[in-house]
């Protein structure tokens, strides 16, 4: 059996992740987080904050909750079931940063937390900024052409 045949054999027999179940839970948990976000938004608006400020406060609140749940060791237990439901919203990003901070504390605040806090979130930050810049250039060119 050569490498290719073995690889096909292995992939053919390996049990697949339960995609339907994972999608259903991701939908439910993702939806729940968005509903909480909307409720918070309404709450902040009710307290008289402007629309934009309310949006920012919602993000801050969700990040705070995600970081807190990461810190007390609950987030990963929820995410195990929720999957993309907790990963895709801002909560996933907060968890990626906070979990790394908790983990690297033993190497100190400089070379540990300081240097490694963005190990997981770093690629997202870099390429999100980069694609944002590229999008901006394209948008600028289109507006030039379109008048």
């Amino acid at each position: 059996m050569n490498e290719k045949e073995y690889s096909e054999y292995v992939q053919g027999r390996a049990k697949k992740s339960p995609i339907l179940k994972n999608c259903a839970f991701a939908f439910l948990f993702g939806g729940l987080i968005c509903t909480i976000g909307q409720a918070l938004n309404d709450l902040y608006t009710y307290f008289g904050f402007e629309k934009e400020i309310s949006g920012t406060l919602v993000s801050i609140t969700l990040i705070f909750i995600a970081c807190l749940l990461t810190g007390i060791g609950v987030f990963d237990n929820i995410a195990k079931i929720a999957g993309a439901g907790t990963l895709v919203p801002i909560t996933g990003f907060a968890n990626a940063v906070a979990s790394q901070a908790v983990d690297t504390k033993s190497e100190g605040y400089i070379m540990g937390v300081g240097a490694k806090i963005f190990t997981i979130a770093g690629p997202v930050i870099l390429y999100a900024t980069l694609s944002g810049a590229i999008y901006g250039v394209i948008y600028y060119i289109i507006t030039l052409i379109g008048g």
């Binding site: 049990k15 929820i78 983990d103």
Partner: protein, 331 residues
């Protein structure tokens, strides 16, 4: 025979063994059999790497105490773990007065250490030695995968790194002897999925087991148990299936340390356990006592290790694996 089975002329005995595990392992099917466990997996230390070293220190202390020897009577200590530069062992052995040889064989370290120790003993170079290895879920997870609190999902073929340390003392006394050893070759069948280590390691186990039965006059039925460590569910199934193609049927008496340590369903560990500590503590807590009691008389133990590093994985590398075999017999 070249590259053949090493038949030990002077057979070392396993004088004693000692196992130390974490809480999850203690809650598993073998829970009561372990010598020592720690409720919070920290073993009183402030970092997971130090916890792993402390776990090793306790295991070796226990094994030496059980053997009735003192550390200065041991000619050499063969030890290793999964951490970079084997620091788990490097720090734990500073507590002892024993010459030290560091090993890296990933999850095969227990079998590798027993095989090397047995060969040194058989050659008359040493009269006693210690073999020790460990793995810690928390230190391995952060080195090889993600931070502990990272919210991700595992695939069904993923294995759970065991928190445990096992130590063995080899020498002149005891009922269990190591009679044969066969060193494995590094085999790479192109698997690069770190969540399917069983598939990466199975070809190495197949090669070693196939060579053993080809070169010896034995058939699998001659043994009470053929135990691999740690292929988990996926790797074990591949091993049994593909060995059958070579005319070696081990389905009746095969088991795997990775399948014994946890209750796969209840403890949510997917394909089973892995890590150097897994085979070490299962051998120490279950197989060796059964050999001592005479419940088992002739056992083939094949330790399998996946030899990748985090760096090689980032570079898209495949996972080479190795499997070392030792034959344990009780008198």
């Amino acid at each position: 025979m070249e590259q053949g089975i090493i038949k030990l002329k002077r057979e070392p005995k396993i004088i004693s063994s000692y196992s130390v595990v974490g809480n999850k392992e203690h809650s598993g099917p073998l829970g009561e059999l372990f010598d020592e466990y720690c409720q919070d997996d920290k073993f009183g230390k402030d970092s997971w790497e130090k916890s792993e070293s402390e776990m090793q220190r306790r295991a070796l202390c226990g094994a030496i105490k059980k053997s009735g020897l003192i550390d200065t009577e041991l000619d050499v200590l063969l030890a290793g773990d999964l951490l970079n530069q084997c620091v788990g062992s490097n720090y734990s052995i500073t507590n002892f007065d024993i010459p030290y040889l560091g090993l890296y064989g990933a999850c095969s370290t227990c079998a590798e250490g027993l095989a090397i120790g047995a060969c040194l003993y058989s050659g008359g170079i040493i009269n006693s030695c210690g073999v020790m290895t460990s793995s810690h879920y928390c230190s391995s997870e952060r080195q090889f995968r993600f931070p502990l609190e990272y919210g991700g999902q595992r695939t069904p073929t993923a294995q759970w790194t065991a928190t445990g340390a096992g130590a063995f003392i080899l020498g002149d006394e005891g009922r269990i002897k190591i009679s044969e050893a066969l060193f494995g070759k590094a085999i790479d069948k192109g698997i690069s999925d770190v969540n399917n280590m069983g598939a990466a390691m199975a070809p190495a186990a197949i090669d070693t087991i196939k060579r053993y039965f080809l070169q010896s006059n034995h058939s699998p039925e001659d043994f009470d148990l053929i135990i691999t460590g740690d292929l988990g569910y996926e790797g074990s199934e591949i091993l049994k299936d593909l060995l059958l193609g070579y005319g070696v049927d081990i389905r009746k008496n095969h088991t795997d340390c990775g399948l014994m340590l946890f209750d796969r369903e209840r403890q949510d560990v997917h394909a089973g356990a892995s890590g150097c500590g897994c085979s070490a503590v299962v051998m120490s807590a279950d197989i060796i006592p059964n050999l001592e009691k005479g419940v088992l008389k002739d056992v083939l133990f094949i330790g399998t290790g996946a030899l990748m590093s985090p760096m090689s994985l980032y570079q898209g590398g495949t996972i080479p694996a190795v499997a070392h075999l030792v034959r344990l017999r009780s008198e």
